[in-house]
Symmetry: C2
Subunit: 446 residues, 2 copies
Amino acid sequence: MPGQGALPAPFDCEIVAIGTELLLGQVVDTNSAWLGDRLAAAGIACYFQTKVGDNQPRIVAALEVALSRACAVICCGGLGPTPDDITREAIAEMMGVELVRDPGLEEMLARRFLGRDLPASNYKQADVPRGCSPVLPTMGTAPGLICPVGEKVIYAVPGVPAEMREMVERAVVPDLRQRSGVTATIRSRFLRVWGVPESKVAEIVGPRVQALEAVGNPTIAFLASATEGVRVRVTARAVLGGPEVSSPMNPVAAEELAGRMLDAEEANLRALLGDAVGGVDDEGLEVSLGRLLSLRGWHLAVAESLTGGMVASRLASVPGASHWFGGGVVAYTDAVKRGPLGVVADLVVSEQAAKEMAVGVARLTSVEVGLSVTGVAGPSLQEDQPVGTVFVGMCLPEDGQPGATQVTVAARLSLPGDRQLVRERAATSALDLVRRQLGRLGPRPA
Amino acid sequence: MPGQGALPAPFDCEIVAIGTELLLGQVVDTNSAWLGDRLAAAGIACYFQTKVGDNQPRIVAALEVALSRACAVICCGGLGPTPDDITREAIAEMMGVELVRDPGLEEMLARRFLGRDLPASNYKQADVPRGCSPVLPTMGTAPGLICPVGEKVIYAVPGVPAEMREMVERAVVPDLRQRSGVTATIRSRFLRVWGVPESKVAEIVGPRVQALEAVGNPTIAFLASATEGVRVRVTARAVLGGPEVSSPMNPVAAEELAGRMLDAEEANLRALLGDAVGGVDDEGLEVSLGRLLSLRGWHLAVAESLTGGMVASRLASVPGASHWFGGGVVAYTDAVKRGPLGVVADLVVSEQAAKEMAVGVARLTSVEVGLSVTGVAGPSLQEDQPVGTVFVGMCLPEDGQPGATQVTVAARLSLPGDRQLVRERAATSALDLVRRQLGRLGPRPA
């Protein structure tokens, strides 16, 4: 019963991903997933997402259905220069307007194509449905569009993920925020939690989540993955002119307020979760580890059995890894474990072998910190140990100083999952062991 | 103008993926991509795919839109036992019928839950909208549904990918084929092509593609990826009772005929593409390579610089890799290249260093075949070589017999892309070098 205390319907935005390759499953539509996450973080609801091929009548039909339901539509893809890029044409048809060439876009394209012999058809990217505003590209050559349709709006952004994300952040989200009347500045931060299952994280953080639910701001959510730890998302809203702040408040002050709320809540969560927290946001385990090693000027090397190079590969994937990563040995046969790595333990799947592998690889590669993984990924048992049995070993200077006596530590794990999952979990567990050990060394020696 | 020679509209099927986690981007919807590919292979068109959250009115709305456009709809997800699993309820509402408990399903669930103290709500999985047929699960506990709606049909399948795929293959595709009147048996095979860009593959195979287009069966399509080579798909149709075969033809004979057509076309394409063809279907480069090594009883080891364990990790990911993979060394510092690997070349990014690394790792790990990768992934130059410069080296027994003189080969590559792409392309190029060299050794020695 509107008018009797009913809340107004929330502002919502649908997504229409355009491309025949998406329907055929040749390309998985990750853009819609990213957009859905981004809209949620901006406080804008998204109830439907549609995929449609490079076919003008069907794109028009998809846009009509979406715009009949939602306040806004983001369509993604089909803005390139080739004949199957027809998003502009479809939007113009749906709006019942013609395409007009935008002189600004034409000039921009001419500058970018300077000296290249491109067909005139490339200039179709300068066409804009009458009444719409172009969004200049900063990365590729495909301009975006903002198309008002009555009280509603259609946005068109490129399908290339990096171009799409940049344009959405720069032009679409701010415009949506303004149209939606969402006056809050919303910021999120992820804490990356390692080595603790989601249920345990929920138990530890539960009372804090409940306390916050009473207030409603900031909020906390969990997101677990099989091998990438648990992400704890803190979302803070600073409302322009709202009760939290003196009104009117400028957007910069709102950003700062939201940032301070995130800082405070991060401190609360770190106090609860201790050294299970690695980095924030995109800082994976490898990056946290690299930071800890760089702090002491140490290098790490890794000896791997079942993970077969996966740990080394993850470490080497970090730009600048050569400042703290020395290399490693993949010991897929006992001969390699016993030869170059110098393992003398009777069993190669054992705590003792894990320690010897860590010491051996550190010696062989002349680094301060050695890490090792040995175990049974399956499909069959090894040395009578069941699939999922993994030993992780590590050696490092005893008092945190190179040249000091070496200490070794090892841990036995029972990891669930199939061969691939056991291997990925073993790699993550090994990296987390080093992260925690280094974190416990305390501040950097003077 | 229907009736004046117009073709009937093709039978089409839409996909509705159900789950709030899909809209929020917490889970990427790979099910729809898989279904789109599967429908295409079965000769059934798919023009729209929709994602909707766990909200009954919105699921009903999505189903109504989809069924107003298409002949059939597959909905995926929301068939579990928890309160947010409401696909059954939504289908019943959309059809205007009630849910009735199916005794067969109830019995099946009781058997599966035997001895476990499960809440009665779990039996909601035995509910079926009146007039619909259940599809018994073989993997999980979630039954599927086949729901006739007038001349059209809605299928419901579980959202767990393995359960979904099994049920679609077993129950949905055969039912769709029957309803659609597609009487052909359609089979596809992928040839995996390595080390040749898509444009070159298209040039080589072009005349054959054109010749086949005149006939229309089999057909050839290409699918390229940045790092996983080119896949050439051959699709053959054996029409039941069609002109190719004596009518009527049983499905088994049709399968066989389609298989023979694929065999013949694979032979044609292999003759054109030579040793650029590795395996078929899911046989990646690592698997092709493992097969060639196993044939001779040889082991391979790999020394990696910029790829940092990626090559080893790909090899170790193959189940049973220990039969032909020895291990390797990740040489991320010059000290490791010059120490354990024994590189003496002045420059570590050079053809000579690549050869020495391959010989060094084969010696260190006591295997017959050594492989190496050294180069510049970026972000900065190394030894004045530009980003993307990669040397791949290899050593193997000269006449194909262990104990014989060792030969070394090396190749210099200029790989495009950013740091991550250069690394992935370097890994793929290295694996392809070994595959081609081993393939040229000719048949296995007696």
